[in-house]
């Protein structure tokens, strides 16, 4: 009653604005303003640590510099490879685990809880303790590998061939449970009568999987991969703790390089241009992906 009185005389639209106003202001302040500011800075030679030096307009120079820099493309390649392998492995293993846990068996709930544990840890902590697991002298990972196949002493994070795999393994270990949970939700939403009808039609288990399970779970899986894709494009903390981007620059993802350019070299203008390019890339890919996902859903 009192609320009604308070808003008396205001149109529905005005009340609506009153409710969403604070959120819009907050979004403008912490999302839109920094974005617009970064875009503005990307056209200047601004260095945030050079106090008193006025930024000068340099046009597209920063963008051209970023796009022509061979090292940037190397970082993008490292990022693309990291994303491809992590998403592929997380999709396959996540779906597999979801199919397993969708069956009823003793200890199902306990197993689900155990599998989900890694994604509850802090990525930085995960990065630090995997450095110990990967230690060539005392690491459990190396011990287990050597137990099954004697490779001798090998250094997962000190070798440029193995280090990219080291970060893929850790990310897969940590985030496969996320894909699994989303897929599991998808699997549990498939009505039983579809399988019953398939049984009546004498469809094999494989046919049931291909024609019922997979199409039903695919939109969920794609959604999980969208989230993971965006997260892995921005991946920073776990990799920094694990390899510092090394050896050399073998695992220096675009986000790590961006941080170094922006907050260690303080090339604010240049790094703003790099950030805008990364933003456009992920935004573009994200949009295309969502469109494809919607088409799959409509089928």
């Amino acid at each position: 009653m009192s609320v009604k009185k308070k808003f008396k005389g205001l149109s529905d639209k005005a009340v609506g604005w009153l409710f969403i106003g604070p959120t819009v202001l907050l979004l403008l302040a912490i999302n839109i303003y920094p974005l617009v500011y970064a875009i503005k800075m990307s056209f200047t030679n601004f260095y945030a640590n050079k106090i008193g030096r006025e930024p000068q307009f340099v046009g597209l120079k920063n963008y051209i510099k970023v796009l022509n820099k061979e090292a940037i493309w190397e970082k993008m390649q490292v990022t693309a490879s990291f994303m491809f392998w992590t998403l592929l492995l997380q999709a396959i293993i996540g779906l597999g685990l979801a199919l397993l846990l969708n069956r009823k068996f003793k200890g199902n709930e306990l197993l689900t809880t155990l599998i989900v544990l890694p994604m509850m840890l802090s990525p930085a902590v995960v990065g630090v303790f995997w450095t110990y697991l990967y230690n060539p002298q005392v690491g459990l990972f190396n011990y287990v590998v050597n137990f099954f196949y004697d490779l001798g002493s090998f250094d997962m994070i000190g070798s440029s061939t193995l280090a990219p795999w080291a970060i893929v393994i850790v990310d897969t270990w940590m985030w496969t449970p996320f894909t699994m949970l989303i897929c599991l939700a998808g699997l549990r939403s498939v009505p039983n009568y579809l399988y019953e009808a398939a049984e009546v039609d004498r469809a094999s288990k494989w046919q049931q999987f291909i024609y019922i399970t997979l199409p039903s779970v695919l939109p969920f899986l794609l959604l999980a991969l969208l989230f993971r894709g965006i997260e892995n494009f921005k991946m920073f903390d776990m990799v920094v703790e694990l390899t510092s981007g090394g050896p050399g620059s073998a695992t220096e993802l675009a986000s790590i390089n961006l941080k170094r350019e922006a907050f260690e070299k303080w090339k604010t203008g240049y790094s703003s241009a790099f950030a805008v390019i990364l933003f456009v890339t992920i935004f573009g890919f994200g949009n295309v992906y969502v469109k494809v996902m919607n088409k799959i859903k409509e089928r």
Binding site: Y134, D155, S159, S160, T243, G246, S249, A250, E252, F263
Partner: protein
């Protein structure tokens, strides 16, 4: 009720006393000397009533944390013990208070301190008489070795037979390599041992500090002495290339497995756990190593070996007053106290590395610890990385290119050094130096 009122009154009173107490905050890296300074500072508080709060930041985050604080004109710190390379940025960007007038007023003379440390930790532009810090902690990169293994007759004779000279403190880098390879993979007391724990860290400054120890010894100069910022043929000279190649060989043939991202603490751990015969590290760590070896049987120490020239990588820091502090007067009082010869002597006694001539020139100094003579020798031959305001921008490409070559095995040493010069030219151009 009465009791509660009294308790409330007492709490309020004590709060107001605390809030009125004079206090300053000092920022430094989290390591052994910082603990010694904390201990030493108790005397300052007792004398002046000024409380000193400490914020010690782990080394990997030290530069990030402190430089961000300065760039943001933060008031967290009143005093900062900043790395030698920061002095340029501290002076040029106005982060540090210029101390000349204060020194004159208080009768603090820079000639009372070791010239190498005044040059490295206090002045900007280099060699000028503009002082932005008081030399606080002298340091250089040096080596510790397992004296107990070196003293074993069977190892001594085997080494002599193999190399034709005595197993002992290496006279140059070639001998160091011989000794490292001698211990690499060797079983001693039933355990597999390795050659040397050397700097290979990628994230901050580790591998640069390590590789420059070799490069300086080979005679590398950063630039043409007659033409500043002209680096071609100097930083990538054949000697510099050879030194970088040597460092890679040392890493490949002598480092323990998994030592691909190691710096101070990792080197110390590898040494203390008995994995390696040698460790490369800062003098700052030697009091800790020495403390665990009271009879001096286990560890020996020596200055960076020479190759073509005698040289060592400079570490260490000066203490500066932060321009943005509201308590500059109290911070200056601390510096005045810290500059006193008697305080400097206590600083050395507690495990800090004094730069005061009264301490260093004392007849008893060289024998005061097993590493004191090495420290004196090193401080006479130190060389530092660029101290330009843009030193972080200069450090990062070197870290990447050297790590890529030494640890990752990518390309050649010449290519790595050329790449670094290319990046440095860009930095100096942006800074208006070229």
């Amino acid at each position: 009720m009465k009791k509660i009122m009294i308790l409330l009154f007492v709490s309020l009173f004590s709060f107001s006393v605390n809030s009125n107490a004079k206090s300053i905050t000092l920022g430094w890296a989290a390591w052994d000397p910082a603990n010694a300074l904390q201990e030493l500072t108790k005397e300052f508080t007792a004398e002046t009533g000024i409380e000193v709060n400490f914020e010690f930041v782990p080394w990997p985050n030290f530069a990030d944390r402190m430089l961000n604080e300065l760039n943001n004109k933060g008031k967290t710190f009143d005093l900062l013990i900043g790395d030698s390379q920061w002095i340029g940025a501290g002076a040029v960007y106005g982060h540090y208070v210029k101390l000349n007038d204060f020194f004159d007023k208080e009768g603090i003379s820079m000639s009372d301190f070791s010239p190498a440390t005044v040059y490295a930790y206090s002045t900007w532009p280099k060699g000028s008489e503009n002082y932005y810090a008081l030399p606080a902690m002298g340091d250089a990169l040096a080596w510790a070795y397992r004296k107990d293994w070196f003293d074993r007759p069977e190892l001594k004779s085997e080494f002599k037979k193999k190399h034709g000279y005595d197993l002992g403190v290496p006279a140059n880098w070639n001998q160091l390599y011989d000794m490292c390879t001698f211990f690499q993979g060797r079983e001693i007391d039933g355990q597999k041992r390795y050659g040397a724990a050397i700097n290979t860290e990628r994230g901050s400054e580790g591998i640069t500090m390590g590789v420059t120890a070799a490069m300086y010894a080979w005679g590398m100069e950063y630039e043409n002495p007659n033409k500043p910022y002209d680096m071609e043929g100097y930083f990538n000279s054949p000697q510099a290339v050879e030194a970088v190649e040597f460092y890679r060989k040392l890493y490949e043939d002598c480092a323990p497995p998994g030592h691909s991202d190691a710096y101070m603490v990792a080197n110390l751990d590898a040494y203390k756990s008995g994995q390696v015969a040698f460790q490369m590290n800062w003098y700052a760590f030697w009091p800790g190593v020495s403390k665990e070896d009271s009879d001096g049987r286990v560890s020996g120490f020596f200055a960076n070996p020479k190759q073509n020239v005698a040289a060592a990588t400079l570490g260490g820091q000066g203490i500066s007053v932060v321009k943005y502090s509201d308590k500059q007067d109290l911070a200056l009082e601390y510096i005045k106290w810290f500059a006193r010869p008697d305080v400097q002597q206590k600083w050395w006694d507690l495990g800090g590395y004094s730069c005061h001539n009264d301490v260093l020139n004392s007849p008893s100094f060289p024998t005061s610890t097993v590493y004191a003579q090495g420290f004196l020798d090193s401080m006479g031959i130190v060389k530092d990385f660029w101290q330009e305001p843009t030193f972080v921008e200069l450090m990062l490409p070197m870290q990447e290119a050297i790590h890529d070559y030494v640890v990752n095995g990518k390309g050649t040493a010449k290519e790595a050094l050329d790449k670094i010069i290319e990046e440095w030219v860009e930095v100096f151009e942006a800074d208006g130096k070229l």
